[in-house]
């Protein structure tokens, strides 16, 4: 029986339910010290001096001079130092590192830092520095607007969001074999590897990165672990002993990355029949103090900014800028939830301006197979915007519910969205990911750097390989994500682990099957010795992309989604309570339906938090609510029943037709919920929709 499409037993399940699974803080090494970080308490300025308020002879204290290589976190541009060198650009910027055998002593260690403060910038609109600017142009905007009967304009804002994986960031660095081995909670072992080679000035073979069981990532363990691994490695090399650094919740929230806040402006020309004839969109994102991943976040943001709607005359202009706040970074959705929020709330405002049914307006404008996106990409037969909308509307009885709730303290709203799978544009070509498959006496072992962070990577990869080899799923093993023994299959991000890495593995398995011929694995090994098949990403021939002009096929494939949210408003407290949420997602193929549903349910819940609960409050450049008591994420009582519908429309280059799934579910809930609030006559254009904002908007709305 084929494994794909079946709910086979997860490869990574057992230890998680018995407590046997070892997360990084569960590990210990002989002679291990604990490390901590002295951080900036000001947002911007020069460091005059640092003075430890303890006897340094009993401690390991490391600063910039102890960095063996280059003082940078190598990522896109090497602009972020591992330790501040004379000046700081944000609160919580690392300045000095301490290590000690006694964790309690460490917690009490104080270092006096004397600063010469400078004036910080918090307002992205007033930022003196643009990290990245992108312009997408299609057709002739002036001509488009000349055909418009109405022009609808609006500005939409989204706030920071904290990933809030329940396991905080943590690593252990162990000096060994003339180099360093890092064990850590992380998504991308090869990102950490690349950063450590530069930081420590070591040859690549002296750096080893091993992923430990990882208690959630959501993007928050994409780039930040390179920083933390760098700190622990500097201390470990200086001490000559293993060093463990595990953040507590406050430090994790203060210092690590969050979702980029955004301000998106739309100006849309609409013909009298409701067709969109011109789209002018301006996207501004707050990148924080260093560039980190911001250019790529902006890229995904602008590439999704039109929403899933066709229009011949489009301009999308995006900028991501510097502010004196901790760098913002990867978080599930990666720029798209921000711009899709704006697009879908704006769509609702167009329907209000035209007094046109919101479903009808979307039906009229949505992408259909053969339509072209803003970058000129021609959408394939798997384009499913119409299908997901139809299914969501039918399943929820949307029209009738909308009428029934009109004029009450409840509302219903929807959002239509799409999400590109895999790296943007030429990204996959540049990554040139590799995956390997090793023959075992009974089957095969998968060797990839892709990590299991809860989503079931090992299981779905094993399913794909088992079916391609024609062997039972149980006979496929999966290696640990350890850079000493697996190839670089690229980062575990961007909804690419199934569609892109899964496809490379499928190719490995097909090649292995051909080489086996009629021989059993055991017989082959006996006759020919070990067999390892390694394959690299192969770009589908028809995909073309130009980073210079931003024209072409931005993504290999898109998933399609429609959410319907029903909410109630408390008439006294203005609290918004989601009553139910329907999530229809077209994902190509559900390799493991339960895991796929889990991605949709979990992403939807995070999207509900983004919509109404999760507010990062900044005061003087620092997160003022950096603890779980007052940064509130959805509990069982905040999360409504989530009704998931999976549709499948195969992508020809995905394994079994599969597209990406991890990120898309978080795109839809915020606009659907805000549109449901709008259904109550409340003119809200900003998230999170806290009681204060809903009250304010309710009081000025007619």
């Amino acid at each position: 029986m084929p494994a794909v499409g079946q709910n086979v037993l997860r490869k990574e399940g057992r230890g998680k339910v018995t407590g046997a699974a070892k997360y990084v803080d569960d590990l210990s090494f002989p002679g291990m010290l604990y490390g901590s970080t002295i951080r900036s308490t000001i947002p911007c300025g020069r460091i005059r001096s640092t003075r430890p308020e303890f006897d340094p002879s009993e401690w390991v204290v490391a600063g910039v001079p102890d960095i063996p290589g280059k003082n940078v976190i190598a990522l896109i541009e090497d602009d972020q130092p591992c330790l501040a060198d004379g000046r700081v650009r944000h609160v919580a910027e690392p300045i000095l590192l301490l290590a000690h055998a006694d964790r309690e002593a460490l917690a009490g260690a104080k270092v006096a830092v004397d600063y010469e403060p400078e004036t910080p910038v918090y307002d992205p609109a007033a930022s003196p520095r643009v990290f990245k600017e992108i312009l997408i142009e299609k057709g002739d905007l002036g001509k488009g607007f000349s055909r418009a009967a109405r022009v609808v304009e609006g500005e939409y804002r989204t706030g920071h969001q904290e990933q809030l994986y329940i396991e905080c960031n943590g690593v252990i660095a162990v000096p060994e074999n003339g180099g360093i081995t890092v064990y850590g909670s992380l998504q991308c072992p090869y990102y950490v590897h690349k950063a450590l080679v530069v930081l420590l000035g070591l040859p690549p073979e002296r750096v080893r990165v091993v992923q430990t069981e990882t208690g959630g990532g959501f993007g928050g363990k994409e780039e930040y672990p390179s920083m933390l691994a760098g700190h622990a490695s500097i201390l470990a090399l200086k001490a000559g002993r293993p060093v463990k650094m595990v953040y507590d919740r406050v430090e994790d929230m203060l210092a690590t990355t969050k979702r980029h806040p955004s301000i998106v402006r739309h100006r849309t020309g609409v013909a009298s029949d409701g067709r969109i004839v011109a789209m002018d969109i301006d996207v501004l994102m707050d990148g924080g103090a260093y560039l980190t991943l911001s250019p790529v976040v902006l890229s995904r943001g602008v590439l999704h900014a039109t929403g899933p709607y066709r229009c011949d005359d489009v301009r999308v202009h995006g900028r991501v800028v510097m502010t004196n706040t901790p760098p913002n970074g990867a978080f599930r959705g990666f720029g798209a939830p921000q711009t899709l929020f704006a697009a879908e709330v704006h769509m609702e405002r167009i329907s209000e301006a035209l007094e046109m049914d919101p479903v009808r307006l979307r039906e009229l404008n949505l992408f259909r197979p053969g339509d072209t996106t803003a970058t000129g990409q021609v959408l394939g037969a798997d384009c499913s915007a119409a299908e997901v909308l139809r299914e969501a509307v039918a399943r929820t009885g949307f029209d009738a519910r909308r009428q029934a709730l009109s004029g009450t303290n409840a509302g219903i709203g929807l959002s239509l969205f799409f999400h590109g799978s895999g790296f943007t544009g030429g990204g996959e070509v540049r990554l040139a990911s590799r995956a390997s498959l090793a023959l075992t006496p009974t089957g095969a072992r998968i060797l990839v750097g892709s990590t299991e962070i809860g989503q079931g990577t090992r299981t779905i990869h094993a399913q794909i390989v088992a079916d391609a080899l024609g062997i039972p799923y149980e006979n496929v093993e999966v290696s640990d994500a350890d850079t000493a023994c697996v190839p670089d299959s690229g980062p575990t991000v961007a909804s690419r682990t199934c569609m892109v890495v899964g496809k490379i593995l499928q190719n490995c398995a097909l090649e292995m099957k051909a080489r086996l011929g009629s021989l059993s694995p055991a017989r082959y090994l006996e006759l020919h010795g070990p067999l390892v098949v390694t394959r690299e990403y192969e770009k589908p021939a028809e995909l073309e992309w130009s980073d210079e002009t931003y024209r072409g096929d931005a993504y290999g494939a898109y998933g399609w989604g429609c959410n319907v949210a029903e909410v109630e408003r408390d008439p006294d407290t203005f609290e918004i309570r989601p009553v139910r949420l329907t999530a229809v997602c077209e994902i190509g193929k559900a390799i493991h339906p339960t895991l796929a549903a889990g991605q949709i349910e979990g992403g939807t819940a995070q999207g509900i938090g983004y919509a109404i609960l999760e507010e990062v409050v900044f005061r003087d450049g620092a997160m003022a609510n950096a603890q779980m008591t007052n940064y509130v994420v959805p509990t069982t009582l905040d999360t409504p029943p989530i009704d998931v519908v999976i549709l499948e429309s195969a992508y020809p280059h995905g394994p079994h037709g599969a597209k990406g799934i991890g990120e898309m579910p978080i795109d839809g809930p915020a606009p659907a919920i805000v549109n449901a609030i709008r259904h109550m006559g409340v003119d809200l254009r900003q998230i999170p929709a806290t009681p204060e904002r809903v009250m304010e908007a309710s009081c000025v709305s007619p």
Binding site: Y23, T594, M628, T629
Partner: protein, 132 residues
């Protein structure tokens, strides 16, 4: 004085009990004290003198529920799972879905949206009327 959580993890080497927030908000450190689900990060260890403390390692009779957490998507990253399972075991036997939601409200899962957890409880029939 040490927290019960630290004594369990460091002195008893029972690392199945996890720390998520250290302030009693997330429930990852849930253990059973005389059958009651308690956040072990909030308990000075001397308070449990004479009590029975059950961690995920010592849990017996919940095999069906633990298996269901794997099969039904109750566990994704797994960091909240030991605490979630112990909190679920402590639910009243006649709990309905609303009771379950109330009973698990102190255990935060960032991965599942809780649907997989409800499915797991229902599949294991623990409590017997789970999620009716």
């Amino acid at each position: 004085m040490k927290r019960l959580l630290d004594v369990l993890r460091e002195d008893c080497a029972l690392t199945g009990t996890k720390e998520g927030c250290g302030e009693g908000e997330c429930g990852a450190c849930t253990v059973l004290i005389d059958g009651q689900a308690v956040n072990s990060c909030l308990v000075p260890f001397a308070q449990v003198a004479g009590s029975s403390v059950t961690t995920i390692e010592g849990l017996t009779g919940a095999e069906a529920l633990q298996s269901a957490f794997i099969r039904e998507g109750g566990a994704q990253c797994g960091i909240c799972t030991p605490g979630m399972i112990l909190a679920a075991v402590a639910l009243p036997k006649d709990a309905d879905l609303q009771d379950i939601r109330r009973g698990l409200a102190g255990n935060i899962c960032r991965c599942t949206g809780y649907e997989g957890i409800y499915r797991s409880l229902r599949a294991a029939a623990i409590p017997a009327r789970a999620a009716d």
